[in-house]
Structures are given as C-alpha cells and as structure tokens.
C-alpha cells in the first residue's frame, strides 16, 4: 500500500474571486510506505500547502488525495498521521509528559496507558529525564523533540513535518537531523518533510521533490543514492555532494524558468 497518493491535485485560495491565488497546479505524487520524502522549493511554491492538503487542514480545489489508503479527511479523523510544525507549539501550562499525552488524551486513552506511552516516546527522543519539566524550561531543540514525540505518540504510520528544524541553529539542526533518522529507524514511519535547506533535504531523504512557484508545480524528483547508514561521515561523502548539486541545479532551473520574464539569468 502506498502511504500518500496525490492524483492531479490543484488548489486555489479564494477561487472564483479576483483575489484568486493558484497555489498548486496538477500535482501527481505517490509516496511509498516507509519512504522519506522532502519537499523543497522557493517561498510561495506551495510546499507547505501541499503538506496541509495531505493533513486535510485545507481541501483541494481539484483532484484526489489518499492517505494510508483512505481519504485525507478520514485519515485525519482516524489519527493515522502525526504532524510537527516549525514552532514546536507546546502547551506552556502542561508538563513535557502531559504535552506528549495530549493526542492520547483526545483519543480517549486512560491515564495509565497514556503515561506509559508518553514515557516510551520521551525515551525514544532521549528526553526521559525531562518528563516533569515545563516546556519553557527546555531549549529550542529539546522543545522540537517533544513536539516529535507528541506527533508520534499514537504511533501513526505517517509523520508530516513542516520545516520542523527551521528555527534551530546549525549545530542543533544537524544533531536533530541525525536524531530524526534514528527515530525513523526505530518506528519505520513514512515521513513527508518540508524544508528550505538543500543539505537537510539530501541528508534525510530517499527522494527530494523540487517545486516551482506561481503556480506551485513539481519540476523534478531527485532520487538520493546514499549507501549505508547516514551519519556525520555522510555529510562529507561524494554521493552527498552529488545529491546537493543535483537538487541545486534543479532549483536553478526553476529560477531560469523565471528569467524568461526578462530577469537576469546569471
């Protein structure tokens, strides 16, 4: 079964009015179970909108979306995906553990099972010593790890991430990327990951989806051929640089597409 299918999906904001914005046009994409797919492109290319379509936070104007074999709406109702945002969005008034428990609480789990699962998830993101801390006592990277634990709490097969490391400093960011791959190894989740960073997309992904703006389209899908375990050495690997070059050139092509309008194409 494929985890996500997008079949000729288009999406306009304010359709039929003079403020109509064509955010996405004719998107075809299917993501296999267990795959790590990154969406990359300049601002306004609709990559976040694409993620929100999969999450059923917005509805497509045209086309069909399947998530874990059901409609996107059903997937949301069934809690078959977890989501993490750029802002960790933790609840200040809840302890770290109770933040992770939130989705379980809403799904009607009893206290004991909730606690057990939350502690398991916190161990997974290596924050078991901070369960009773309050979110504002943690660093940005730790907060983001709590948000990931929360997104994974119900063990959804699919994890949607919208620039989750965008607000972190470079060192923390690289560390979090390695952690995310380790977590993915442990859970086997399918991950759809929106990012601005080319090295981040290449380091993490099996495939990188390169998008162009106005209207948002998929211009190219780059397969990342990194062999073996991805670790700090991977960042100095020839294949890693090759991947970066390929993604960068695909993005350049996007800019070249614009230069037909008379803009300098370097």
């Amino acid at each position: 079964m494929t985890a996500v299918v997008l079949d000729s999906v288009s999406m306009s904001f304010n359709p039929g009015t003079n403020r109509e914005v064509n955010a996405l046009d004719g998107i075809d994409l299917s993501i296999a179970e267990g795959e790590f797919v990154s969406l990359i492109g300049p601002s306004g290319c609709g990559k976040s909108t694409l993620l929100r379509l999969v999450a059923n936070l917005v509805e497509p104007t045209e086309g069909r979306i399947l998530v874990n074999g059901t409609s996107a709406e059903q997937a949301r109702r069934d809690h078959t995906y977890g989501m993490a945002f750029q802002q960790a969005g933790l609840f200040d008034w809840r302890s770290v553990r109770r933040n992770v428990e939130l989705p379980l609480e809403l799904a009607g789990w009893d206290r004991g099972r909730r606690r057990e699962r939350a502690e398991e998830m916190l161990a997974l993101v290596k924050l078991d010593d901070f369960a009773e801390h309050m979110p504002w006592q943690l660093s940005g990277g730790m907060q983001q790890r709590v948000a990931i634990a929360r997104a994974l709490a119900t063990r959804p097969p699919l994890l949607l991430m919208d620039e989750p490391f965008g607000a972190l400093d470079e060192m923390t960011r690289e560390h979090m990327q390695a952690e995310l791959l380790r977590i993915r190894e442990a859970t086997g989740s399918t991950i759809v990951f929106v990012t601005h960073s080319i090295p981040e997309a290449v380091y993490l992904s099996d495939r990188v989806v390169v998008m162009s703006p106005r209207p948002g389209r998929i211009t190219r899908i780059v397969d990342i051929a990194l062999t073996g375990d991805r670790d700090d050495d991977t960042r100095e690997d020839q294949a890693f640089f090759a991947g970066i070059t390929e993604v960068r050139e695909s993005l350049r092509a996007v800019e070249g597409y614009h230069s037909h309008g008379g803009v300098d194409d370097r």
């Binding site: 999450a55 936070l57 949301r76 109702r77 809690h79 995906y81 977890g82 989501m83 945002f85 750029q86 802002q87 960790a88 969005g89 609840f91 200040d92 008034w93 302890s95 939130l102 989705p103 609480e105 809403l106 309050m134 504002w136």
Partner: protein
C-alpha cells in the same frame, strides 16, 4: 518567592507611610480655608475638619462608634466591611461567570460577537446610580421557584453589572489570541470546537483573564458601595460612609474609619484574585505571570 512577597509587603507599608507624610506635609503648608486658581476653588482646605491628622484618624479607630461607649469603631467598621465584602465577592463571581460566558459565545460565533459586543459596551455607559433604584425595586416583585428576590441580591446584581465588562473583553481577547501552530495542531486531531476551547483556548487565555478579574474585583467593590449608598441598604460599608458623613461636623475622623474599611475590603477582594493568580500560574513561565 517568599522574599519577593516580603519585599512587596515592605514596599506597600512604605508607600502607605509616604502618603501619610504627604498628607501631613500638606496640612503644614496648605491654606486652612482652601484657595482658588483663576476663580476655581480647587486648592483643598487643610483644616482639621477637612483633613484630620493621620494620628487622630488612627486613634479614632480605637474609640467606640458613638462616643457613649461600646466596642472600638474599627471592630464595627470591620463588620460592615465583611458584609460588603461578601456581596462584592458574590458580584465578582457572577460578573466573572457572565463575562467569561459572553466571551466564549463571542469567540465561537463572529455573528454573536457583532450582536453582543455593542450591548456590552453600551451597558457600561449607563450610570449605576440611575440603574440602582430600578434593580432594587425587584425585591418583592420577583420570585424564582419560590425564592423571593431579596434586596441584597439587587446589590450583587449591580456589582456584577460593573464587573462583567472587563472580564468579557479580556477573556474574548485571550480566547482569540491563540497562536496558529497550536490551533492547527488541534485541527489535525479532528476534535470539536469545545474540546479546543477546554484544552487550548481557555488555558491560553488565562494571562488575559487574570488581569481582567483584578479590574473586576475593584469594580465589584465600587458597585456594591455605590448600590448600598444609592439604595440605603443597611449593614454594609456604603451605609456607614453615608451616616458617618452626617456626623462629620463634630467628628471628622469618623468618616475616615469607614474609608479605611472600604479600602481594606477592596484590597481583600483584590488579594483573593492575586491568590488565584499564584495558584493558576505556579507552573507557568515568569513572563506570563508578571
């Protein structure tokens, strides 16, 4: 925490002392019969009748209400204050519940906000003194399930009428100021609006609700005292202010006993909201509590 409390108490005592000093300083330099600027009589009289000495006012607290005898006036005034405090507390609770309820309605439906908000604002332009006799006249006319509307309930209603306003406005602001990320997160859980209200919007609004309750506490006290004075209900500090004033020609210090009582009860009700704040905010970051 304890050190901060001690420092705050010390500062409060110092502030009270400073006001006392200013008072006495004015008595030394101010004109006994007052004065006028450009024909307006705005410079207060410094006479002992208008501004008794601070020590005389304090000494008066220990003397009986009527010079004939009995317990010190401080005790009598404390009794009045206690009566008024209870009415103000009931008014604050009713005002708080009504204010939060209206805010929830307004946050839920935009149309409700358009329909209700103008009335909420207009309600505050009606002078309480004009409203008080009407509301007091309910007693004896209204009966709810065999419970006859007593006069004190009218006083509470008037206090609630003043205190619901800041709570409604503050809570509405809080409920609608939740950042986008946690709201989207709740949306991914596909939960109904009321669940988002209880789990997210309401706790997120607490830093807005607490200051509005502080305002409401002082307004509730003002409401009860004005209602007591304008309706002549006995037993409270409002009535005491009125009757002590009539005796002020020969006993100027007496009225200040009632003023102190009113101030003390205002502080007590305000303090109870601060206590609530400390309990609610015990696990929150400093920025949100200060």
């Amino acid at each position: 925490m304890l050190r901060r409390a001690a420092r705050k108490t010390a500062l409060f005592v110092l502030a009270v002392f400073a006001v006392g000093c200013l008072w006495e300083a004015y008595k030394v330099i101010g004109p006994v019969d007052g004065g006028s600027v450009f024909g307006w009589k705005i410079i207060p009289k410094a006479s002992d009748r208008a501004m008794p000495h601070t020590w005389d006012m304090i000494a008066r607290l220990l003397e009986p209400e009527n010079r004939s005898g009995g317990s010190p006036i401080a005790v009598t005034v404390a009794g009045y204050s206690w009566y008024t405090l209870r009415l103000a507390a009931v008014g604050l609770v009713i005002g708080g519940v009504v204010g939060i309820g209206l805010a929830v309605l307004m946050a839920r439906w935009r149309i409700a906000s358009r329909a209700i908000l103008p009335w909420v604002i207009m309600s505050q332009t009606v002078p309480l003194i004009a409203l008080a006799p009407q509301v007091v006249s309910w007693s004896g006319k209204i009966e709810i399930f065999g419970w006859e509307w007593p006069r004190w309930a009218s006083v509470c209603a008037l206090a609630a009428f003043l205190s619901f306003f800041p709570v409604a406005v503050g809570t509405l602001k809080g409920l609608t100021s939740v950042p986008a990320a946690p709201l989207e997160l709740m949306e991914t859980y596909a939960v109904p609006w009321r669940v988002t209200l209880v789990k997210l919007r309401f706790p997120a609004a607490v830093p807005f609700i607490i200051p509005s309750l502080k305002l409401a506490a002082t307004l509730s006290v003002v409401g009860v005292i004005v209602a007591e004075i304008s309706t002549g209900i006995r037993g409270g500090i409002g009535r005491a202010v009125l009757s002590y004033q009539q005796a002020s020609t020969g006993d100027a210090e007496k009225i200040y006993s009632a003023v102190f009582g009113a101030a003390a009860l205002g502080l007590a009700l305000f303090g109870s909201v601060v206590l609530l704040e400390v309990i609610v905010n015990r696990n929150r970051p400093r920025e949100a509590t200060s």
